[in-house]
Structure formats: C-alpha cells, structure tokens
C-alpha cells in the first residue's frame, strides 16, 4: 500500500485514468487518425474536402441538425410542464419512476412496438376505424419519425429539469407571490431562470444523441428522413470506407462540442437568477 496521501490518491486514480485513456482518449485519437488518412495510409485532408464539397453530405448534415432541433423543441415543450407538474404532486418520486420506466426497455423493442401501433392494421388505425375513419398511412412519414424519436428522448429531458425544479426552495415562490407577482410572472421570472441549468442539461442530453439517430430513420421513417447516422453506418458496414465514415464521426463530435459550448452552465448565471 502506498504511504503518503498523495501517493494513495494517485493509486486510486489509476483505474480511472486507464479507463479514460483506453475507452475515451484512444478511440477519439483513432477516429481522428482514420479521418485524416486514406485507404493506403497517407495523411490527407481529402476526406474532409470530399465531405464539404458534397451537396449530399451537407444536406444530410442540415437534415440531422434540423431534426435534432425539432426533437429537442418538442421534448422541451412537453417535458417542462410535465416536470413542473410532477414537482407539485405528493408522491412525486413514484410518478417520476413511471416516467423513467420506459428507459428500462430496449430502444429497438420500443421502436418495434411503435410499428405495431402505427402500421396500417395497427392499434391506432383500428381505434380510428371505430369512428368510421379509413386507415391512414402513419408510418414512413416525417411526423411518425418525430413522434417516435421524441417519445424516446422525453425521459432524458424530464429528469434534469425535474431535478433542478426540485432543488428550488419553495419559499422563493411564496416570496414572489407575496411581493405581488402573479403565477405567470413567478414562473417566468423566478422558476424558469432558476431551472435553467436543468433545461440546458436536458437539451444536451437530447440534442446530441438525436444528431446521430439512425435505426429509427429506417424503421419508422422508411429512409424518408436521412441523417448522418445513416451515412456512418453505410461507410462502416457497406462500402467499408472507414476513413470517410470517421470523418463524418469527427464532424458529429465537433457539432456536439459546439452544442456543449452553447448550453454551458456559465458561473454568473446563478447570480442573475
């Protein structure tokens, strides 16, 4: 056993350090290296040039960002009121558990369940036919894609917002009301700014994975929605051009870093609240 406190700290840090190097740093370096080389191992910026000169990839990037943006907005609009109401309930931990429960189920299973719901002979159409509505084409549309993607991401938005709302001292709300602010003003000027860190964390947790969703684009979207995830899958599995695939991967990472910077929890935001 190492003796001094510092040595001991170092000893305990080792597994974490090794873990980070093996599973975080090394893959990132490999990805960057792959993206900067060609099939025969030369260093080149060719992959990046190809990417930025191709209308297809740029359009796909735009699609990815646009759909990730829509998914984030939809989940935020649903999650904030939900988290707010959950916080007012007596058994809030229990209700929160119910919201979190779907995340215990495998993503693919949930997607297949939606196929059962939305297909032509599915539950939704059967129910509608009770009211004399002819079966509609629900699958393979942008809407069904947004619906399923938002459904899957909602718990990841609710959880951080719920936590940040739960941390707010209820007396602040009372004080605001005592000082003459109405419900809406209290929400707008007190609660919302104080829960901002939760909203930002939620946006990060939803926007970033949404950028590279790909199974749902095919299963539910029928490839009507094509995002960068599709292109990465294709380059790694079909054309086996891992270099171009890695380039797209690096671009996604950069997009994620940008998102992180924009939604960073600035130190002075607390003071303003």
């Amino acid at each position: 056993m190492p003796k001094s406190k510092q040595q001991r700290q170092l000893f305990y840090l080792m597994p974490y350090g090794l873990w980070l190097i093996l599973f975080v740093v090394a893959p990132l370096v490999l990805l960057l290296f792959q993206s900067l080389t060609t099939q025969d191992g030369h260093f080149t910026l060719h992959n990046y040039a190809l990417y930025f000169s191709s209308g297809t990839y740029l359009l796909m990037t735009f699609n990815s960002v646009w759909y990730a943006f829509l998914i984030t907005i939809i989940t935020l609009l649903i999650s904030y009121p939900t988290a707010y109401l959950l916080n007012q309930l007596k058994q809030k931990q229990f209700w929160l558990l119910l919201v979190i429960l779907p995340t215990w189920i495998n993503l693919l299973l949930k997607t297949y369940a939606f196929i059962g719901l939305l297909s032509k002979t599915g539950t939704v159409n059967n129910f509608m036919s009770l009211f004399g509505i002819v079966p509609q084409q629900l699958l393979f549309s942008n809407w069904s894609f947004l619906l399923v993607a938002s459904y899957i991401e909602i718990p990841f938005m609710i959880l951080p917002i719920f936590n940040s709302l739960a941390e707010i001292n209820p007396r602040l709300e009372q004080a605001s009301r005592d000082l003459g602010a109405n419900r809406w003003q209290t929400l707008r000027r007190v609660i919302m700014p104080l829960s901002m860190p939760g909203i930002k964390a939620g946006i990060q947790a939803v926007f970033i994975p949404s950028l590279s969703l790909f199974m749902i684009t095919r299963l539910i979207g029928g490839n009507r929605v094509i995002t960068l995830g599709t292109a990465i899958e294709e380059h790694f599995l079909v054309t086996q051009n891992w270099h171009l695939g890695s380039t797209i991967g690096v671009i996604l990472i950069v997009a994620m870093v940008i998102t992180m910077i924009f939604t960073r929890d600035r130190k002075n935001s607390r003071k303003r609240g």
């Binding site: 297809t56 393979f140 095919r218 029928g222 599995l237 086996q240 051009n241």
Partner: protein, 359 residues
C-alpha cells in the same frame, strides 16, 4: 474506501471462480470429444437445420461450434483480422470474389469432395469462382417482386418497368441496398448489373429517381414483416425474404421478372483460418448428400443448388416457379461481381443521393 476495495475483491474472486468452473467444465467435456474433433462453422443466423448439426456429430464424431454473422462485411472483417479459427464460412458471391483476391480462402481439394456430382451444373462454375476452386454452393436465390393479390392484379406487375406505373403511387417498398436498387434501373435500361460506366450509372440513378413517387419506404429485413401485415402492396426484395413473407400471408406472391434480375449465391468456403480440415471436408460431403441438403432446404425455405436433393423435395416445393424459376428466366439472371472499392463507393453514393431525393 475499504468498502470499495472489498467489493472489488469480491468481484475478482467471483470472476476467478467462474473462470475456474468454466475451465473445469470444458476440460470435462473435452474427455468425451477430443478438442480437435470439432468443426468451427461460421454462418448466417438460423441458416441450417439444427437437427442436421446433431446428425453430423452423430455420424462423424465432430462437434460443431456454430457462430453467426449478419452481413458479408462483418464476416469479412472478422476473418481478415484473424484471431479466429473458422473452418468453414458461408459468404455470398461478390464477397467470395473479394476474399479470393485478397488470399483469404484455401482452395478445395476436389478429390476429397464426394458429393460435387450432386450439384446442378447451372449453379457451378460461376464467374466469382471459376471451376469451384474455392467454394461449393449452399443456397441460391433471386431478386424479385412480392405483391399482394388483394391490391394488385398479377398481370399488372410482371416486369421491372411495371414498378413505374402511376397506379402504384406510394405503394412500393424497396430493399435498402445500393446494388439491388441500381440493378433494377440498369436492367430496365438493358445494361449489366455490374456496369462500370459513369454515364450508365448516372442514367440508372436518374431512372431510379423517377420511381420515387411510387416508393413508400426504403427498408431492409423488415420488408417481410411489413408485407405479411399488408402495410404495402408491392415490395422489391430477395427470394429468401420473400419465402418467409409468403409463408405468413397467403395473399402474397413472388415473381422474378423474365427480362432478368440478380442471381445470388451463398457458397461454403474454407477461410485461411481453417484448422480442422478433415472436419471441414467431412461437413462439405455431409451437406452435399441429397438427403441432408433436401432436409436443409425444406427447413430454410431457400432454393437448393443440389439437383439430387431437389428431386427429393415435395412436389409443391419442387414445382414452385416462384423460387425455382424456369430455365429461360434463370438464363437471364446475372450474378453480382465485386466492383472494387472505387465502384462500390460510386454505387453507394449514387444510391444515397437517390434516397435523399425529395418526395
């Protein structure tokens, strides 16, 4: 801190115990079947009748260790990177060509193959493996059209060009594969499915784009499920997928357009990682045996290239023109060549651009 260390230690001890048990168990079973009486078979998931594996072990004493892959590319990567000891694998046509070129395959000694005479000569000596130096056919099939007779008249959908008919607006499911999608367009323009001309590829892409209004979705293996559920009235997919869909919905039918289509093969090869060659040859001869091949074909539902096995199959299967098309149709079928890296990417890019077409 002490708690963490204790729990870590517990985990390590448990791992050691499990490891020891596993070692003990494997050494125990090893006494029954010596470790080199084994065959490592690398195949697609659910692509052999499990009863045949048992029978093989009973007849020859070789225990079969069956591992599966879900795409040719995944299998190729694993064999190329080594560290495995697969004795036999079942790649498709173009992949055999690629593996052969990269010296990943061992040639087969025809003197040791007792069953090669059972195969239909139409399915031997293919372009991807001349004289079957490296492979024996396992199953074959086609690319074709599934239609649902509740919504579509058989006479309206006999040829690839019928897909473009305005009456099928938003009704077709297309398989998500660059080679197959472009093959359809190339065939309608009387070009080879292995065409390597930029102008022809661009023309095929343009033709495919005009199909977009009729396309409901571009999906993969899910096609068989969607078709069985009546989600779409027409789908373009492989015969293997079609046979599964057809067995779940009696309104579905499969046709191979007579003007031509893709003919695909899954052949058995011996990768260079093979360690148990005697076992491999024993298996090749076992599966070439008409009785076994027929049993396998009945279980899997794909078309067998084994002529003598075909004769043993029930009449309803043998005479099914959907999966055993007549000679004239077969003569128009084309096998995919390995296009090489550059052209594989060109085909995929063309297909990706097509998928991005706004609807």
């Amino acid at each position: 801190m002490r708690k963490i260390i204790t729990s870590m230690m517990t985990i390590i001890v448990i791992i050691l115990i499990l490891f020891g048990t596993q070692h003990y168990l494997s050494s125990k079973t090893g006494t029954n079947v010596s470790s080199d009486k084994v065959l490592n078979l690398y195949n697609w998931g659910d692509y052999i009748d499990p009863a045949l594996l048992k029978k093989f072990t009973q007849e020859t004493g070789y225990r079969v260790s069956y591992e599966t892959f879900d795409s040719n590319e995944a299998m190729y990567t694993k064999i190329k990177q080594g560290g495995t000891s697969y004795d036999l694998a079942v790649p498709s046509d173009y992949m055999i060509q690629k593996m052969k070129r990269e010296k990943l395959l061992l040639p087969l000694d025809h003197k040791k193959l007792t069953g090669i005479g059972n195969y239909d000569s139409r399915f031997l000596n293919q372009s991807f493996d001349k004289n079957n130096h490296y492979s024996l056919p396992y199953f074959w099939g086609t690319l074709g059209i599934i239609y649902n007779d509740q919504y579509v008249n058989a006479k309206d959908i006999q040829h690839w060009d019928d897909l473009w008919s305005p009456q099928f607006k938003n009704q077709i499911m297309l398989v998500d594969s660059a080679r197959d999608g472009l093959a359809i367009a190339l065939i309608t323009q009387n070009k080879s499915v292995n065409d390597k001309s930029r102008a022809d590829l661009a023309a095929a892409q343009a033709k495919l784009r005009t199909l977009m209004p009729n396309i409901k979705a571009i999906v993969a293996d899910e096609i068989k499920m969607y078709m069985a559920q009546n989600e779409a009235s027409i789908a373009v997919t492989y015969s293997g997928e079609a046979s599964e869909a057809l067995s779940n919905n009696k309104h579905l039918h499969y046709i191979v357009p007579s003007e031509g289509s893709n003919l695909w093969f899954d052949n058995i090869v011996m990768p260079k990682t093979a360690k148990h060659k005697a076992a491999a040859y024993a298996f090749l001869n076992f599966i070439s045996d008409p009785k076994n091949a027929a049993q396998n074909a009945e279980y899997i539902g794909y078309a067998t290239p084994n002529k003598k096995a075909l004769a043993l199959l029930p009449k309803s299967i043998r005479d099914d023109k959907q999966f055993y098309p007549n000679n004239q149709t077969v003569s128009h079928l084309q096998v995919y060549d390995d296009l090489g890296q550059t052209w594989t990417e060109r085909y995929n890019d063309a297909f990706l651009e097509f998928k991005m077409t706004q609807r």
